[in-house]
Amino acid sequence: MSQTPKIQLIDVHKSFGAKTVLDGITVDIAPSESFVIIGGSGTGKSVTLKCILGLMRPEQGRILVDGLDVVGMRPREREEVLRKFGMLFQGAALFDSLKVWENVAFGLIQGHKMERRKAKDKAVEKLYAVGLGADVGELYPAELSGGMQKRVGLARAIATEPEIIFFDEPTTGLDPIMADVINDLIVKCVKELGATAVSITHDMHSARKISDRMAMLHRGRLVWVGRTAEVDQSDNPFVDQFIHGRAEGPIKMELRR
């Protein structure tokens, strides 16, 4: 790769007590590419994102964003780096004490110090981009369905026009049609912004649709990284088992019998 990677993980380790969750992750994510990390539950997908965001601190290894090491950064500097990020959370994580439009405008008002009236116009514009009308903006998050909450979450993630967007299980808990609507919106928004996207999912349909490249995480290690088009010819037993959803294979579910 000729250009500097947008995000670079170098030998990242993270454990909770005796339990090792990330066991040496090394990967480069190029600018404007859509990178998807697939893997079963509890393999460390969320922890990877949280380490990049600085919500957790890895014990070992380096994480570079635009060539800048973010591990152990001072809070002030980290806030500057975080301005480049947007994130869609699994449960949408909307602020339930604020109206929908205030949620969408939150990053603009708090992070970018925009005037409330201007931020509201922008929020309505972003709501429109995810297929919601201005009237929805006056509601509270608790009054929305799960699919609508996800779309508001997406609007909030893209409102500040971030350079990097994280999607944490964007389609989990949605019906197949709404899941596809969200997939389309993700592809559209990422393309329009020209942003770098990192998603984690175990929904293969979604992963194929939104990604340029994929990586498979298993037991804290990346067992395969490659282009989405190559995922079916990976010759990797882990990937084969995962994409076909077979119970038998090298990935053993830790079940007690």
Partner: protein, 257 residues
Amino acid sequence: MNFLAPIGAFFLSFLRHTGRLINFCGIALSHCVRPPIYPRLILRQMIEIGYFSLPVVGLTAIFTGMVLALQSHTGFARFSAEGAVATVVVISITRELGPVLAGLMVAGRIGAAMAAEIGTMRVTEQVDALVTLATNPFKYLVAPRIIAGFITLPMLVLVADIIGVFGGFVVGAYKLGYNPATYLHSTWEYLKPLDVISGLVKASVFGFIIALMGCYHGYHSKGGAQGVGQATTNAVVSSSILILTLNYVLTALFFDK
């Protein structure tokens, strides 16, 4: 040797929690004094702590004042010291009962609400969402609550003092048959500014403690509904105990000469 292990484990966990609390307190305080400060959020918390606690604190105060007059009247009658009733009521209310009882009531009402709100935000990833929107949760959630608690509780206690003394006056004048004018006169006569000021200083400290414990336990809650419930209980219990302990310490500092 096995019976020593739980003692050691308990001691280590105590040290860990104390360290974590002091660390939390330090970060929270540093955000209270550094800009940006959010006046809207502080005002909202002040209304919540002050205005909406008025009924419960007022009721506590009036009945405390009433029972105090009744008790000291029947008690002092044994050595013909009924003339001291008004003084006893006003000094007990302003020095001790006003701040302590208001503190305990507010700990139950506001400390619990803060722990539950921030705890729910934590377990639904709203606190993480704040970080990804380049907003420091200490700045946005913790600092406004601590500032509001610190400012508002003295105001609340001042009102409680007045209501409590009024309760004593009503019982004294209309039930026990004291001359209203004499009762009011002896209320004023022996009251020193330090009696009221010490009570208000206590109130400030208690307000700080209530908000700090509510935020601390909420911020560190984990798990789902159960974790939030635990955090709420811990917030109320720990702030109540700290209020009673610090009340002794502050009384000793003010009056033990």
